[in-house]
């Protein structure tokens, strides 16, 4: 089990960090957010040039042929920089298409995904429940899909959707292109670096994703999504801890740095422990995805449960460590808090995710 990064992965991490660092600090993020744009197009272009959309695409399909370990590196960096890109939704959809075994679909879409010309995202959630409804109300009939999906992550600018739908009483995944019969409504989100849409389908042409075992594919999709979101949350969490620790060193009160007070020091020490625990669990999930598919479903779900448990706490602790300036608009703390609060809910509440993990554990 590769719980430590390889040389190649460390190099890749440096390259990603360079791109994000040169994309500018959170001032740039704020500009994109204020403009109401779903993504930072300039940054996304740079990431496309680095090959990011192709990480999960095989070399046969013109991708980088890497795995979730490398995708996780990108997702962590995006979380640390609060960067608005469509990579979360895209990564999930890409992994699912690659896993499905639908060769024709893979041949058609994966090369386009890899070169950055096609954005596909999953459209699973309905209403206000978790992201995988027990019985999807969106239905397919005669090759066309109808119904409404809610909270479609990165759905605003998507050219295609992987839609979870029911056809004749049986569930399946469908590839649906944006266009006639597909109405995308941008949602406002608390974290404006997380873009989401509700998508209404009205007899839109739907192509069934061929797969040998749908249940297994859906479980895989859930695990991939969980890992993607966990990695993104971890990036933000680790960064908030870093900012808080630095402030605890720099800020003096009562003639000494506030970090010398146990009341400040101990909670940060606990978060440092959570950081190590979370990173260990996350690495296990990404490694399992790439090397140990049997364990991946549980490992992915475990990673998300762990990060849901600490992400908001980390952001809140940052605000609390900062005191007054922690809730001013000009400090980044509230951006991290909003990101953590939003991203930890996109696949369902902690209780919903916990129940899903219990099911995966056979409880």
């Amino acid at each position: 089990m590769a719980l430590t990064l390889t040389e190649e992965q460390l190099d890749f991490k440096s390259a990603v960090d360079d791109v994000l660092d040169s994309a500018g600090d959170t001032k740039r993020v704020r500009e994109v957010q204020e403009a109401g744009a779903p993504f930072d197009d300039k940054l996304w272009k740079a990431l496309v040039e680095l090959g990011v959309p192709g990480i999960l695409v095989s070399e046969d399909h013109d991708g980088l042929g890497l795995g979730l370990s490398e995708a996780s590196i990108v997702l962590q960096a995006l979380g640390a920089h609060i960067s608005p890109t469509p990579y979360r939704g895209l990564a999930i959809a890409t992994a699912v298409i690659a896993k499905s075994g639908d060769g024709a679909l893979a041949d058609e879409v994966l090369p386009k995904i890899a070169d950055g010309s096609l954005l596909v995202v999953p459209a699973f959630a309905e209403g206000n429940g978790g992201w995988i409804p027990a019985a999807p109300s969106v239905t397919v009939s005669g090759g066309a899909v109808s119904g409404t999906k809610s909270f479609v992550l990165d759905g605003v600018a998507a050219q295609a959707f992987l839609v979870l739908a029911t056809e004749g009483g049986t569930q399946g995944l469908y590839y649906v292109e944006a266009g006639d019969g597909v109405e995308v409504t941008k949602l406002d989100t608390l974290d404006r670096s997380t873009s989401a849409a509700s998508v209404a389908f009205a007899n839109a042409p739907a192509r069934k994703v061929a797969t040998a075992d749908f249940g297994e594919l859906l479980a895989y999709a859930d695990a991939v999504a969980s890992t993607v979101i966990a990695a993104n949350l971890y990036g933000g969490f680790a960064k908030t801890l870093e900012i808080a620790v630095q402030y605890a060193k720099d800020r003096f009160q009562f003639g000494r740095p506030i970090g010398s007070f146990q009341g400040v020091k101990f909670p940060l020490a606990e978060l440092a422990m959570e950081d190590e625990l979370a990173l260990s669990i996350l690495r296990q999930a990404t490694t399992a995805a790439d090397e140990d598919p049997e364990d991946f479903v549980v490992a992915g779900l475990t990673a998300l449960s762990k990060l849901q448990g600490i992400a908001l706490e980390g952001a809140i602790r940052l605000v609390q460590t900062l005191g007054g300036i922690g809730f001013t608009w000009d400090h980044d703390a509230h951006l991290y808090q909003k990101q953590a609060a939003t991203v930890r809910l996109v696949l369902g509440t902690p209780a919903e995710r916990s129940e899903r993990l219990a099911q995966a554990l056979g409880i």
Binding site: T189, L190, R251, Q253, F254, I316
Partner: protein
Amino acid sequence: MTITAEAESDTSAAGFEARARAWLEANVERAGAVRRTRGEELVAYERALQAKIFDAGFAALTQPEEYGGQGLGEPERQAWERAAADFAVPRMTYSVSHGMCGPIINLLGTEEQKAKYLPRLWRGDDLWCQLFSEPSAGSDVAGLRTKAEKVDGGWRITGSKVWTTSAQYCERGVIVARTDWDVPKHQGLTMFLIDMKAEGVQVNPLRVATGEKPFNLIFFDNVFVPEEDRLSELGKGWDAAVAMLRFERISIGTGSTRSEGPYAFDNVLAAAKKLGRTDEPGVRAALAELYVLEQGTSLLSLRMRAEAAAGIALNARGSIAKLAGAQANRRTAELVSEILGTALVSWSGFTPEGDGLYPGITAMFAGSASSWTAGGTMEVQKGIIGERVLGLEKDPQVDRGIPFTQIRQGA
């Protein structure tokens, strides 16, 4: 400007209450009858109303008559409170002016200061603010760095103050500044009365996480304060500040066991029902916990009020109420996440000002951090509780007895 209450036959508190109620019926709207936006409009409305109340002899009831008060006693004050509870009398606008600034001037002021400032203060002609907190000195208020330099006929004040509510509307303020840098930090401070419209005062609204601007960051650039506006003795500013903070009554609840506002149990339950989530075990557990949380803080307030009424001193236990409020708010952020799910963090077709139930919850969620530090960080409250309620020893104070200029400070 002093107005005397009408001489009527019934001089008892009950008689006073009846007169107050009659006057209120005739002159003031019922509480909750009209919803006012915050800010300038509210301030203007409450200023006008305060003057009217003052002129009718129902303001500054227990204050001495020579400075605009009515010279009455506690029974009358309580009678007014009872009568006014149902009416939209000014509450927020004058909480600092009347709750802290008036009393400290009364306590420390010269005859001239009292005569000059108090009548206008009680009538609400002048709105006052409290200027203690600084960007560099948050929890460590006595570490403040705003300086007052002696000049001919008075002082020149330079520095910055922060977290000042409604400073943009204030005519005057009570400020603490450092007048001696070569003595230990508590000993070099002096309290002044300052003209907020004077040259060199710059009030900057401070934008917070919700996008609103409820506080101000204020710069003082060489602002002149005449010697006659020095309130405390030289070097006694800390004692004055402590005395002034003691006047700040802990807000110990509304008397209801049910809270109001976006985070109130009833409101969150309504939102959960609207979303159709009340059958989910996680949501049910979170709602039950929210109820227990709310009952705790509400009943603690009620109990503290009951004890206060029974003559049991609250003292530092007020910090317990503050900490409980802050922690309940912090925990509620997690509970509403569990209860509302993505509906908490995304929306469509309505705005935070709209009629939906959860946009209010979302705004509260986004802005909740400010409530954790109101009146001191949670760490400050825990220190007070540990030391002054439980009697545990203080942390070692490394800056004690050291000249201010020699105290270690950050970059």
